[in-house]
């Protein structure tokens, strides 16, 4: 049995391991014990606090495999991406250079430093044990956060953002970012891994604010850097497809370090929000449950939030049938309502993009 729940102090070592094994390394999940401990504390504080509108809360979740009692994944929510410091991105823009004299209009692509995504809620810092990649566990960890948001809408912004690590190349045995090489490197004279590490410990907006405010002209970047703009890291293609299927859209925004894509969505347009619903629980022995599509099921406890995978097995009157084990994990008895949504997502056609 897999369950997603808020991180607790005892999860620190597991988080550290997950941070260290994230591929590629995540700026917002530095393998740095003090930072991670601070994050757990902040998450616990956020869960205890009474909140009327999103602020600088962070919610840190873990995925636990109850069979082995092992924490095998983590993912976070930042209630407001730029609550403490502005959340910077590069925004893809087009300048029109028009000459009336020559009667030509020439479009020039630029990247402009922007902090307009600061108000959105950010889904971030996801790392999963490699054994579970691209399984239901992967989806559960990623999307359980949406189940949490669906229950506590006042704690989150109506716009959700998720940033994917950018495209990296192998060079001389090192992962390097062709985008950083062509852009940030000029200003910072530090390689991608150094700056990423620095950003994890200090802050990314700190670094953004030292960057020049002028738009960058795309034609002046290397072809490799241009090709990396808005391209997700090879290891995150599956995740990216899933989030597109969930209802997120590609945006004009990319990461300032590696040009990884930022997806955006109005939350009510997401599959999970549109399709989740409350169902009273009916507990039935596992063997008597009918076959049904898989579903995410979450309880109603803020601090004791639990989200598990179950079957979307409804009675004719709309009760959700759970096994005694599932009910126990969720901490619910018969008649209590749980939030459930079928897992399968519609197909995505990005052909037009």
């Amino acid at each position: 049995m897999l369950v997603v729940r808020p991180a607790e102090s005892r999860d620190l070592l597991a988080l550290e391991r997950l941070a260290a094994t994230a591929t590629p390394r995540l700026t917002n999940l530095p393998p740095h014990r003090d930072r991670l401990e601070e994050r757990i504390t902040r998450s616990q504080r956020s869960l205890r606090a009474e909140i009327d509108f999103p602020g600088d809360e962070i919610y840190c979740f873990v995925l636990e495999d109850l069979e082995t009692q092992e924490v095998v994944g983590t993912a976070s929510l930042r209630a407001e991406a730029g609550a403490r410091e502005a959340y910077y991105t590069y925004r893809q823009e087009t300048l029109i250079h028009a000459s009336q004299q020559l009667n030509v209009r020439h479009e020039v692509q630029t990247l402009a430093l922007s902090h307009e995504v600061s108000d959105a809620t950010l889904l971030c810092a996801l790392s999963l044990d490699a054994r579970y990649r691209e399984t239901d566990a992967d989806s559960l960890l990623r999307r359980a956060r949406l189940m949490f948001i669906a229950q506590y809408p006042e704690r989150f912004a109506s716009e959700l953002a998720v940033a994917f690590p950018g495209y990296l190349e192998m060079r001389d045995g090192c992962q390097i970012s062709p985008f950083w090489d062509s852009v940030g490197q000029h200003f910072f004279d530090r390689d991608f891994n150094e700056i990423n590490q620095m950003a994890g410990i200090r802050s990314k907006s700190f670094i953004a604010e030292v960057m020049p405010p002028f738009p960058l002209y795309l034609p002046l970047l290397t072809p490799q850097a241009r090709a990396a703009i808005g391209r997700e890291n090879q290891r995150h293609e599956y995740a990216m497809q899933e989030m597109l299927a969930e209802g997120f859209s590609r945006s004009r925004h990319v990461d300032i370090f590696d040009a990884g894509p930022l997806l955006l969505a109005e939350r009510e347009r997401l599959h999970t929000f549109a399709n989740c619903g409350w169902h009273p629980v009916r507990i039935r022995p596992a063997e008597s449950l009918p076959d049904a599509v898989p579903a995410m099921v979450a309880n109603q406890h803020l601090g004791g939030f639990r989200c598990v995978l179950a079957r979307y097995a409804l009675t004719p009157t709309g009760q959700l049938m759970l096994t005694p084990e599932q009910a126990e994990i969720l901490g619910v008895e018969e008649g209590r309502a749980v939030l459930a949504v079928p897992m399968p997502l519609p197909a995505v056609d990005e052909g037009e993009l």
Binding site: H97, A98, L102, V104, V108, H186, F187, V210, Y217, L220
Partner: protein, 347 residues
């Protein structure tokens, strides 16, 4: 050989020059209307009683043996008055953070029109057959004598635009890395349009945000402020006069614009007035003349090499007066008689 202002009857001679200049010498296109307009602008400038803005002083080098036009040169009195005048300016911007232990100063190229209102020396061309006897130096330096003589009709600063670096195949690395992305045309076409004075498209199409030079290719960066190898003698001559590169480069090829305060130009500072004394006979032939003289009236402006430097009268009532001795043919060439004054420059 003598220099004089261009006249209407020089149009055919000018066309010959225009045809010979060829590609890459964009200020003299082989276009009848354009050349006529240049002549008319010059006539207007020489006749102008006031200091109007759009003045062009265009000179020809005339072979007084047969009256043929051997070369030309010009001064724009005030660039940017009629059409906008653009450069890229190489500057730098510090980029620092104490906390990140970061302190770098990066070079930037920024579009500007800082030279608006300055004078420009330009359009120097000498035909193949006359590339001897320091005719080129005469064409180059006559402009300093003219400015020294008519200082009040010029602004404080003067500039000269130098052709930038090209590969042996005729490609400009600066253009290929920068301009080509912004101008939907090839280099020659862009250059031709500016030569025709149609420059407002530059401001319309050129990137207006600063370009950090590290974003340019190595060969483009290397071309910033560098001159074409054929232009090296010209730039050397200007530098000897005190013109310097202050970071301004051509929008298209990245070639340097050199500049100076007119009063600081060596030839302007060092030229002096002297009274003409005639000496018998004609000047001996030399291929290394070193003394230049020009007349003092704008309408009949003439300049040429002469044989003798200025001397001081060492005794008598005129003691200390500056005198220059001219042979008869030299006086004729300049149209002066004994007792007239000339502006003379040694070197």
């Amino acid at each position: 050989m003598r220099i004089r202002p261009i006249a209407r009857h020089d149009i055919e001679g000018l066309k010959v020059l225009a045809r010979e200049t060829g590609v890459g010498f964009t200020s003299l296109p082989d276009n009848h209307e354009f050349l006529i307009a240049k002549i008319e602008r010059t006539l207007a400038a020489f006749e102008a009683s006031e200091k109007s803005e759009d003045r062009l002083y265009f000179f020809v080098l005339e072979d007084d043996s047969d009256g043929s036009i051997a070369g030309c040169c010009a001064i724009e009195a005030c660039v940017g008055s009629d059409a906008p005048f653009y450069h890229y300016r190489l500057g730098s911007l510090a980029h620092s953070s104490v906390q990140l232990n970061l302190h770098r100063t990066l070079d930037t190229l920024t579009l500007c029109s800082d030279h608006t209102g300055n004078a420009e020396v330009c359009s120097l061309f000498l035909r193949e057959d006359w590339r001897r006897d320091r005719n080129g130096a005469l064409l180059s330096k006559v402009r300093w004598l003219f400015m020294a003589q008519f200082r009040e009709v010029f602004p404080n600063k003067v500039l000269a635009e130098m052709r930038g670096v090209f590969t042996p195949e005729g490609r400009s690395p600066f253009w290929e890395c920068l301009g080509s992305h912004f101008f939907p045309m090839d280099f020659d076409e862009a250059d031709r349009l500016t030569g025709m004075g149609q420059k407002s498209f530059i401001g319309e199409l050129m990137p207006k945000f600063p370009i950090y030079t590290p974003f340019l290719s190595e060969s483009a960066r290397a071309a910033i402020g560098q001159v074409h190898e054929h232009t090296r003698p010209a730039v050397a001559m200007l530098k000897k006069e005190g013109l310097r590169w202050e970071g301004y480069v051509d929008i298209f090829d990245g070639g340097p614009t050199v500049e100076a305060y007119i009063d600081d130009v060596r030839a302007v500072r060092d030229s002096q007035l002297a009274r003409v004394e005639l000496i018998e006979g004609n000047a001996p032939v030399t291929d290394r003349p070193s003394i230049m003289a020009s007349t003092l009236s704008m309408a009949d402006f003439r300049a040429s090499w002469i044989s003798h430097a200025v001397t001081q009268v060492s005794e008598g009532p005129d003691e200390g007066e500056s005198v220059v001795c001219l042979y008869r043919d030299e006086a004729e060439r300049l149209g002066v008689s004994a007792g007239d004054s000339l502006r003379v420059l040694a070197g």
